[in-house]
């Protein structure tokens, strides 16, 4: 499964990425980018997750993601804050399976 995370600068998100990698399979690809890079990167992944800081961009990003056939979700605020890698990984997995 290929997961991409988008947030403001990508700093605290990188901690989350390493926790998600621990919760997932070794063959998963999980990357994080700043929100400006959506159009350049989104279609390479199976699911896109947005951090709570870039909530304002969700509508636009989801519209773009829909045109690419990629499910796009907003990460749960408290799971993001508490760096709940496992919870967010499962959230992403469910979105891919529901597609």
């Amino acid at each position: 499964m290929k997961i991409v995370l988008y947030c403001q600068y990508g700093m605290s998100t990188s901690v989350l990425v390493s926790k998600m990698k621990k919760a997932g399979d070794s063959c998963d690809i999980i990357d994080a980018y700043p929100i400006e890079d959506v159009e350049a990167t989104l279609n390479k992944y199976d699911v896109a997750l947005l951090g709570p800081q870039v909530r304002g961009h969700y509508a636009n990003t989801k519209a773009y993601a829909d045109t690419q056939g990629v499910p796009c979700l907003l990460m749960d605020m408290m799971s993001y804050g508490r760096m709940d890698g496992r919870g967010i990984y499962l959230q992403a997995k469910k979105a891919v399976l529901d597609k």
Binding site: P52, Q53, R55
Partner: protein, 409 residues
Amino acid sequence: MNKVLQKFESVAMKISSNMIVVALRNSFMSIIPFLVVAGFGTFIGSILLPAQWVHDLFGEEFVAQFSEIITRLNNGGFKIMSLTVMCLLSYNLAVLKKFDKPHLCVVVTVAALFISVPADTVTSYFSSRGLLVSILVSIFATSLFIKLSKVSVFKIKISGNIPQAVLDSFELLLSMAIIMVVFALGTWMIRFVTGYEFIDLLYSILQAPLVGISATLGGAFLTIMIKCSLFFIGIHPSFVNAVATPLYTAALEEGFIINQTFMDVWGCMGGCGCTIGLALALFVNKRSDFKTLGKLSLPLALFNINEPLVYGLPIAFNFSMLIPYLFITPLNFTIAYFAAKIGLVSKMSVLITWSTPAFFNSFIGSAGDFRNVILYAALVALDFVIWSFFIKGYGKVLDKKAEEAGMEG
């Protein structure tokens, strides 16, 4: 309530996506490394130059030459801050507007600046004094130039075996000429009518008051409370920084106590809203969920990152945390301001980035005054006490919620 929030969010998003705001923010961020290098030179200089042992070991001549080198280093930093921001702003704005010759926009802007200012004083506007005028000239000249370049009747086509670069610039010759004439006539007219140079009017009417107001305690309160309020409703205040950073950086060069470094050190202790005390309070708390969050956020707080706290406690949308989050920083500001004002500590004088670690930033930012580190520790302790009080209250709120949920189940 949700509708109001959504409206707010879309407005904030529109502002922070606005081309001028994005271009300004990126331009400023690009020159910060230069300012930091120059600032670091000043920092080293202010530690070494007054030190007696340096004079004894290396002699007066060395000290004089070393001081000269530091001055030269500074010439590449603050002294050309506005010039570099102006050039980058026209370039970045042109790129965002998808104009294919952004380099020409830079030339047009530089020409416009030199046209607008009497030749013998133009270099004084390369530093923070010329910040506002550089930004305005850049935006106006670039936008007008791009608009004019699209008008086909202005395009001059020449034929023959001529290099592409020459063809391109000839095509835009008329647009360039119009801009240059507009600036020359405009600034001449202002001088003719008012007796003052446009640039001096701009400085006294707009820039000096704006910088002056932001550099007061009230201005600092307003800035930080706007930022914290935005974080509280889940919006990243990056566009506030786009306006505040240039103003506070100018304040730094002009010697105000409240300046960019002051805001970075005292307003961002552990993260925006001074949450390092909160991370500590959670770390020592008996509740297991608080303790876990404290363990997670404390190392990050040392680097002034507090997203785990803002989203994880949460602070955002959590009214139990609103009062400390909004008011602890103004309290810290007040204490730090008066400490510098009455001379208990040196003021912040060296530009640093907000990510410079806690405690270290107060040392480096004040050009090596250790008393600021002591002040920092004292404020952390004070904040710890206040945050602990509110954490206790929040813990009770959580217990009550759990109780009610248990009773319903």
